[in-house]
């Protein structure tokens, strides 16, 4: 094994940081989609990721379905869970203050974690990497093929979302709900349907994140909370409500962790990312790309 240079090390930190950051970005996107329509931070977002990974294990490994069938089947199933979450936990709430809604999503995440534990047990599960595990060498740094899948899917999701929200009627209707729900319902948009759709969409993105990260990090029932915190942090860092912000926030969080661990101290790497987040908030309370208006809204 040849020794690697400092430059190669830095490159490796960047590659790994961007990959992990892409996962955070996907979780953050899930947060933003629901937030934009409902102003709820859905703390069960991490559970969608966990379910994505675990359901995929059932379809792909246990049932032996080929990847191209198991993948969409998993996404659809988790979307159904997202819809159920809205129908059973969010919509029935009689006095929906934001805090009550947050508690409802926390309750739902506890419930989902418990159900996942009973169904899948406590052991971690593995998925095969989509295109093998033979690492690709890149200027001396190593790229696992699955890294490329993760980054690729983030790009794909970003493009699809921007097409959806900018060029389709439903997407535009969802944006209208986000801007002004009362006006939206006046012009005949069914706000409830849009909320339902936002939950389905964000569950789908969570599921995709879960499916593609499992071959890298394995998946077990209680990983949701840590992913949700990272994703929430990314969404806040980028500025709540902003899609580019969520992606930027995720990538920055991942990269800071990676460089922090590589260059300063791996024990405190999570703290570095959070300190940067706090510093940004103190100087720019609306996050990097968030609108000042949203940050000033007070909904408790």
């Amino acid at each position: 094994m040849e020794k690697i240079t400092f430059a190669t090390q830095l490159l490796q930190y960047l590659i790994t940081g961007l990959t992990i950051g892409s996962i955070y970005a996907m979780v953050a996107l899930g947060f933003i989609i629901i937030y934009n329509v409902t102003e709820i931070i859905n703390f069960a977002q991490g559970e969608f990721v966990v379910l994505g990974g675990l359901v995929m294990v059932v379809f792909h490994v246990s049932a032996g379905l080929p990847l191209v069938i198991a993948f969409p089947a998993t996404v659809v199933l988790v979307m159904l869970v997202g819809i159920l979450l809205d129908r059973l936990a969010i919509r029935p709430i009689r006095k929906p203050s934001v805090l009550t809604l947050i508690i409802a999503t926390i309750a739902a995440s506890i419930l989902m974690k418990g159900v996942a534990m009973v169904i899948w047990g406590k052991d971690p599960f593995d998925l095969q990497a989509f295109s093998g595990r033979d690492p690709i060498s890149f200027f001396g740094a190593i790229i696992q093929p699955q890294y490329l899948w993760v980054i690729g899917f983030l790009i794909l999701i970003t493009i699809s979302l921007s097409i959806f929200f900018n060029s389709t009627i439903i997407g535009k209707a969802m944006r209208a709900c986000a801007d002004n729900p009362d006006a939206a319902s006046l012009v005949g948009i069914d706000t409830k349907k849009m909320i339902l759709l936002s939950f389905a969409l964000s569950a789908a993105i969570g599921a995709i994140a879960g499916i593609i990260v499992t071959p890298i990090s394995l998946m077990e029932y209680d990983r949701g909370v840590s992913l949700a915190i990272k994703g929430f942090g990314a969404a806040i860092l980028g500025g709540l409500g902003s899609f580019p912000g969520a992606i930027l926030g995720g990538l920055i969080m991942g990269t800071i962790e990676s460089f922090g661990a590589g260059l300063i101290s791996s024990a405190y790497k999570d703290a570095f990312a959070l300190i940067v987040l706090l510093a940004v908030l103190f100087f720019k309370p609306s996050g990097l790309l968030g609108s000042v208006e949203i940050s000033k809204m007070k909904r408790f």
């Binding site: 931070i41 709430i93 409802a104 009973v118 806040i236 940050s295």
Partner: protein
């Protein structure tokens, strides 16, 4: 909502005073005073949190950090430096107040979810420090040998003695907090909650009030932490992690955050559910816990403290 009638308070504390005697005569609940000590410790934190969230309308996901700062101040100063426990308790409260001021001043300018994230981040950072600074805190294996409390030669060395000590603190905090709520400060807080702009126009110094309440909550949490440390004689970081902050939030929501009683009811219910009643369900415990929480959120949006109001409503109809 601002007027809090005195009769329920008197009845409640009368029950608290008699409870150890009742428990002694019913074997099946003989160990309940032990649980009540922890319920009381949680009550101290939720009372402060209730004032912050329910009355001032500010969210905090870092109460467990202040709880931990109090506990570790007591633990470290008594075990490593052999200081007087009561003095350590005060020092812990002082440190918490200072930290709350430093963190609160910039954080409380943040709104809504941004504030939630900032407090969450602060809580996690504090936890990481407890976990990593092994030399000082003992790391994840924790710190043991923290002495018990005594006052003028009187040792609080049994469950019942400690029970009365903790509940005396809760009583004091409760009365003090009610006085705050019913004072000019309380009205100012309500004003902030309903509309910051309006409150500010009326001449309420919003940020000052918010910081004061934040510090008050932190000091109470710190006191709770010290009481915990001296009771269990042992502390470890996971007692003060993010999940505990969330649990405290759940207590407030479950009990009802717009009434001070909600803080007490929530602390009681969650303590007994998670420490006693739910383990009957074995591995399904977590599902039942989540389920109960969800049902309460859906059907009782004002928490359990809202039930009397609902019943009154029925009679009126």
């Amino acid at each position: 909502m601002l007027r809090i009638s005195k009769l329920p308070i008197a009845i409640f504390f009368a029950i608290i005073i008699c409870f150890p005697w009742i428990a002694k005569h019913i074997p099946a609940i003989g160990h309940y005073p032990d649980l009540m000590v922890f319920a009381g410790i949680y009550c101290l934190i939720t009372i402060g949190l209730s004032l912050l969230m329910g009355y001032a309308g500010q969210i905090s996901l870092c109460q467990a950090a202040f709880y931990g700062i109090g506990a570790y101040a007591s633990g470290i100063l008594t075990v490593r430096y052999g200081m007087n426990p009561w003095l350590c308790m005060l020092i812990g409260m002082g440190i918490s107040a200072l930290v709350a001021l430093l963190v609160g001043a910039p954080s409380l300018k943040l709104k809504g979810h941004y504030l939630a994230m900032a407090t969450l981040a602060f809580g996690i950072i504090v936890f990481i420090i407890f976990n990593e600074e092994v030399e000082l805190t003992g790391g994840p294996d924790g710190m043991r040998g923290i002495p018990g409390l005594s006052l003028f030669g009187f040792q609080f060395d049994s469950v019942n003695k400690y029970y009365y000590l903790v509940w005396a603190f809760v009583f004091a905090a409760f009365i003090f907090t009610i006085n705050i709520i019913q004072s000019r400060t309380g009205r100012a807080l309500r004003a902030i909650h309903s509309s910051e702009t309006a409150a500010s126009a009326m001449g309420v110094n919003i940020s000052r009030f918010k910081i004061i309440v934040f510090i008050y909550g932190a000091v109470l949490a710190s006191l709770a932490g010290s009481l915990y440390a001296h009771y269990l004689n042992f502390i470890n970081p996971s007692t003060f992690d993010l999940f505990v902050s969330i649990k405290l939030l759940i207590m407030i929501a479950l009990g009802g955050m717009h009434q001070i009683w909600g803080a007490i009811i929530g602390a009681f219910l969650i303590t007994f559910l998670s420490y006693e009643w739910l383990h009957f369900f074995g591995e399904f415990e977590i599902i039942v816990y989540g389920g109960i929480l969800l049902l309460v959120t859906i059907f009782l949006p004002d928490g359990l403290a809202g039930i009397p109001g609902i019943i009154k409503g029925w009679f009126r109809n």
